[in-house]
Symmetry: C2
Subunit: 197 residues, 2 copies
């Protein structure tokens, strides 16, 4: 055996990985309507955290829907399973010491609470991107509201499917007429003020 | 807006995260029979890599079977889905810049190749923990071989379910009569020699 090798006596665990990354791992869970700005804010927030030498990962539709959840559709049952898997993956990333940001509509309280419950206290930070429906629908960046109103997309959150707003989110990001960078800055400042990052 | 904030122009991507962690992210995929030593070796290897300031995460039955794959059983269909989800999660961790170690029997070539194919070239390192069946069965740390021989566990890999050995693994860890630390050291030395870590 080489003599320059250190074999630790303890298994590598969350505390070891978090210390290595010099941060407290958490899930920053953005929830809000389609068009509320979740993904844009999440991307800007991640850039900001990385610039602060944080170790982050962003889970969103782009990297989840075609891979891990590629077998799921948009039925109620599949939507529940979608959020369950995302929650379990977020938990694995927290265990790896990572600051996880998630950007999904996640309209149902029970699903969001599932993630809260499988994590330790203070690890789940629920962030309500509280952009009013009228603003989201006026933006309609992907033309989805138009399709939902014409009946081409059934069960669309905010139109004919319920959005259950968080009752006691750690952070509510109230709507203001400002740029995405300004909104992301507000969120970052709130996260710092509350000691979450 | 605060003026002390750097907002990058580019999205945070795999290259940024890998550079931040000062490593090339990969999946170190251990495959082998039950009792071959995969989990023990994987744990020791992770400790060694962390001591070398690598950012790692270990996926194994302990953190996968009760969470992400808690809805799956042991039918052929569920075993395929189990490895598919593990592969997709491993890909997410690679995207986050992490060196992922996996420790699953993963008896079927097609399933292992699925993970290889969804990753970039050189990101999937297949490691055959090539401990002979006789040795695994003599160890029988969980008494599973005994139960499989008596018929209490059907479809047990190596007994009445096939183990498809890798044809061209990046690394074959041949069996030697030595301690787990010595085996893990051999694996680490091979990974370094081949430039994988």
């Amino acid at each position: 055996m080489s003599t320059d090798i250190v074999w630790h006596e303890h298994h590598t665990d969350k505390a070891v990985r978090a210390a290595q990354k010099n941060q407290t791992p958490r899930v920053l869970w953005l929830t809000g309507l389609s068009g509320s700005g979740k993904s844009t804010i999440a991307n800007l927030l991640e850039q900001k955290l990385v610039a602060q030498h944080k170790h982050t990962y962003l889970l969103d539709g782009d990297n989840i829907r075609h891979g891990l959840c590629g077998d799921l559709g948009f039925s109620d049952k599949d939507r529940v399973e979608n959020i369950r898997r995302i929650s379990e993956v977020a938990k694995l990333f927290v265990d790896s010491g990572t600051l996880v940001i998630t950007a999904f509509i996640s309209p149902f309280k029970a699903d969001r609470n599932y993630c809260r419950e499988i994590l330790a206290p203070q690890e789940f930070i629920e962030i309500h991107v509280d952009t009013p429906l009228e603003v989201c629908e006026a933006r309609d960046p992907k033309g989805l509201y138009k399709k939902a109103r014409s009946g081409d997309i059934p069960h669309f959150t905010g139109i004919d499917s319920e959005y259950q707003a968080p009752e006691a989110p750690e952070i509510t990001l109230s709507y203001q007429d400002e740029s995405p960078v300004e909104t992301a800055q507000r969120l970052y400042d709130l996260l710092v003020a509350k000691g979450y990052v």
